[in-house]
Amino acid sequence: MFFWEPEVNTLLTQSINLFATGLLVLAFAMIAQRRILTLIHLFTLQGASLVAATLVVAYLTDQHHLYYSAAITFALKVVLIPILLHRLIDRLNVRWDVETLLNIPTTMLIGIVLVIFAFNLAAPIAVLSNSIARGTLGIALASVLLSFLMMIVRAKAVPQVIGFLSMENGLFFAATAATSGMPMLVELGIAFDVLVGILILGVFMFQIREQFDSLDIRHLEKLKED
């Protein structure tokens, strides 16, 4: 026990808020980003801030299983999935693709509304929780909703997959913030689900492109060849 420990602990508690804010801002940056390559970098950064937040919560609450889940998150979301995504966009040859989107500022304004909604929704829940990071529940919820928005407004398959993954980031952070993490078994299950999910979606994307010569998922709206 050091004499400066209380101050360090206060700073660490505040740093959870900082990482949470980072998560939210990165979710916003993803909405605003047109380039697929930068999108993957942003996703990696978001994973890294999630790992940092989980580590701090683990240290402050002295819960060992959170260290393991931070390690799994790091291995999956900062290392493995970005590598898979990089290989995917290399092989699909969409590395420098610039997606044509509907008006980014409008999307971001909708995003702000979502954030306000999420913050309001989470405020009463956070009061009931006694977790150390309860204030950040609203941020976690907002990140989930923003990733949802991203999946809705994107036309191409790869950004949609990234939106899906970043939604999982938000959910994971919500679990850490509200209840100090899920049981280990659930966490492992989700981790493998995500991994299998991205593998299947990768195969799926190749199929889409082979069928339609493009990754634009609007082609899937037609049910019959005419």
């Binding site: 808020n17 500022p105 913050f119």
Partner: protein
């Protein structure tokens, strides 16, 4: 009440701003040249330019109205006042009650309105083009700047810049996520307002892309010198406001005039690092299309709004 130490610190700040502003511009230009593998101009080049311009005859178009003649003085006056209000060395400033953060944004707006009016006054197409672009950037940047200042105001419960900095500088160190986000938004706004690279290139007279240069195309002699000096002062003021809000350590508080002896080297060190970072940003970014600028500034605005919301949610 105006104390002697307050008076001295105020005077010192104004002199420092007037003297150092061109140096900061020279420092940024020098680093930019180094980072871009060019041979750098001298650190004192802005002073030489000012000296040259002040000794030259000022040519004014026949059709110019008085607005064209008084605009440089108004712009220069606004920027000097802003530099006097921004706490660079000390927060004990007798002029600080003259304008809080909202009026500060108004001062920038006043300068912008006059320089735009003067640019349109002559009736050349370039002046009008520059004025329109300047107003486009201004009306998008101002709300973002206001939101940034508001998030600092919310934390410190005051809209006076001196009070905000006083509170932030003399409290135990704490991490404010809202201030971090607001700092990013402030950087965006500062780049746009000071005609820096992602928005405008200060070093070019390329007709199609210029904004600031198009505004002042018709000026010469001492008028141009005043405007160039005011531009340097604006960069200095923005740097100092940013440093005071987000890195407030080292600024002397009220009643401790001797702390200014420490504040001076700290300020110089902070400005030097800030200048290098600015040059770095300008080197690694490409200038964006004019129609991307609204998106850039909308991002800044939304970041500032997020900062406010995060403050409301987390209370930090």
């Amino acid at each position: 009440m105006i104390t002697l130490s307050g008076f001295v610190s105020q005077l010192l700040e104004i002199i420092l701003a007037l003297a150092l502003a061109p140096l900061l511009t020279g420092w940024v230009n020098q680093w930019r040249a180094w980072l871009q593998n060019r041979s750098a101009p001298s650190l004192l080049q802005p002073y030489r330019v000012l000296h040259k311009l002040f000794n030259k005859e000022s040519v004014v178009a026949e059709s110019a109205s008085p607005i064209f003649r008084i605009a440089p003085y108004i712009v220069f006056g606004c920027m000097t006042l802003v530099c006097a209000i921004a706490p660079t060395l000390s927060t004990d400033l007798p002029l600080a009650p003259a304008a809080d953060t909202i009026a500060l944004v108004g001062l920038f707006a006043l300068a912008r309105v006059f320089i735009s009016l003067a640019a349109m006054d002559i009736g050349t197409s370039f002046g009008t083009l520059g004025a329109r672009r300047e107003m486009l950037i201004g009306f998008l940047a101002e709300p973002a700047l206001l939101m940034v200042l508001f998030s600092a105001s919310l934390i410190t419960q005051s809209t006076s810049l001196a009070n905000i900095v006083e509170t932030l500088a003399h409290q135990p160190f704490a991490i404010y996520p809202s201030l971090v986000v607001a700092g990013v938004a402030f950087t965006f706004v500062a780049l746009a307002e000071n005609a820096r690279v992602p928005v405008d290139n200060p070093a070019t007279h390329l007709e199609l892309t210029m904004i600031h240069e198009a505004l002042i195309l018709e000026y010469s002699g001492r008028h141009l010198a005043l405007i160039e000096w005011a531009a340097a002062l604006k960069l200095f003021a923005y740097s100092c406001i940013g440093l005071a809000l987000f890195f407030p350590w080292g600024i002397a508080g009220a009643g401790t005039p001797l702390a200014m002896l420490v504040a001076m080297p700290v300020l110089l060190a902070k400005l030097a690092i800030g200048g290098v970072l600015l040059a770095l940003i300008e080197t690694i970014n490409a200038k964006m299309r004019l129609f991307r600028v609204p998106e850039f500034l909308a991002t800044a605005f939304l970041l500032a709004v997020i900062a406010l919301l995060v403050h409301v949610l987390l209370g930090a």
